[in-house]
């Protein structure tokens, strides 16, 4: 049961420069837990101190924002892609 997590440029410094990480898990929450278990420095960038996903980081299961599904409890299937999309502001 491998799920691919796509890592944005801004966070690749914490995943040994990997743009994608393969992890195991049954829900979005479990695969994110597996990701931060492997790359501990990522945790504060994804989760607030109370363990909730930060508001300026969106997590998508395939094309859908998981907040519009069952959030971190959303089930993932083999071959699903989870994307982390943080807010960026550059333009000049």
């Amino acid at each position: 049961m491998a799920t691919t997590i796509l890592i944005p440029t801004a966070l690749r410094a914490f995943t040994d420069a990997n743009a994608r990480v393969e992890v195991e898990g049954r829900t979005v929450g479990e695969v994110l837990d597996a990701l931060v278990a492997r790359h501990a420095a990522l945790r504060p960038h994804l989760f607030a101190a109370d363990g909730r996903l930060r508001n300026f980081v969106n997590v998508y299961l395939n094309e859908e924002d998981c907040r519009h599904l069952q959030s971190t409890a959303t089930a993932v299937r083999d071959g699903d892609v989870v994307s982390i999309v943080p807010a960026i502001a550059g333009g000049r």
Binding site: P8, T9, A10, A13, F14, A19, A41, H45, R54, N55, F56, N58, Y60, E63, E64, D65, H68, S83, V85, P86, A87, I88, A89, G90, G91, R92
Partner: protein, 384 residues
Amino acid sequence: MSEMPPLSREEMARYSRHLVLPEVGLEGQRALKAGSVLLIGAGGLGAPLGMYLAAAGVGRIGLVDFDVVDATNLQRQVTFSTADVGRPKLQAAAERLRGINPHVQVDLHQVQLTAANALDILRPYDVIVDGTDNFPTRYLVNDACVLLNKPNVYGSIFRFEGQASVFWAEKGPCYRCLYAEPPPPGLVPSCAEGGVLGVLPGVIGTIQAIEVLKLLLGRGETLLGRLLLFDALAMRFRELRLRQDPECARAGSCQKVRGLVDYDAFCGITPPAAAAATVAGEITPADLAARLARREDLVIVDVREPHEWDICHLEGARLVPLRTLPEVVDSLPRDRPLVVHCKLGGRSTKAAEFLRASGFENVLNLTGGIRAWIDSVDPSLQKY
């Protein structure tokens, strides 16, 4: 939109490749001439936007920016030439746009967009384009568009990555549906700190320009309800679904924006007056220079990356990239003052907090980073 204006013989010749497109044609070209667009930010995104929209014959183009052209802009802001360095951006941009197409009216708003002036500046335009470079202005532009019920063509870039979408609160999601809150200051580096590939704003800005034309023509499918992601390193486009907040969708309009607010406070930014005052734990470049001249036994810790160190560094400094700090923290002396610095002061603030939390009692952060040092102490170092 105003009455459709006629096209002169010269305009007909100029727009010939549009006129033969059935989706544009004479009627569409006149709609473009009747249309107006406001570009907020005349920088990396604003450069291709302004030039292509002028060339395409959009009748009225407003530009909002208060900056002057800097040498570091030329790597990506292709509106400007080397000779423009030091000139107001709007002056140089207006010349370029009028040179491309004299039939276009170019309005210049040489001000910083604020909650006080935003509604008046945005009101006369059909389409608003967000090409700014900071979170407070992005939320301000979004909220003003929500209140005025205008489409907001969004583009954002960072390093090798870009995002684009169209927000329109009456018809779908707005920026607050995408990100309800901004990240705290310092967590997401700016392009000045983090860098940006010069061509990237060209890709995202031209995508925004296409969306503007489609909105004015009323043709095609815009990015409304979709977030387009571009990764230049992987050369991959992806598309994610962007849904309106269910509560706003039920109400038929945005329920989060009631009026304009203090956007610096919303984004957690300290007012400049307070930031400029001497802050405990900070040291100015002039003070550091004075202490070094007195041969005080300071340790300067540069928390930038090796490729930045190669461009310029302070004499006698020790390179410890921020991400490696936890590994080498035990090798730093605890009995001497530590002065930490980066390029602009963002990363070194985090380094100073980490060192203090690790028990270092005498840690000073160089205010404004090596950029401020070069500006006020040693201009012989290479600026970047």
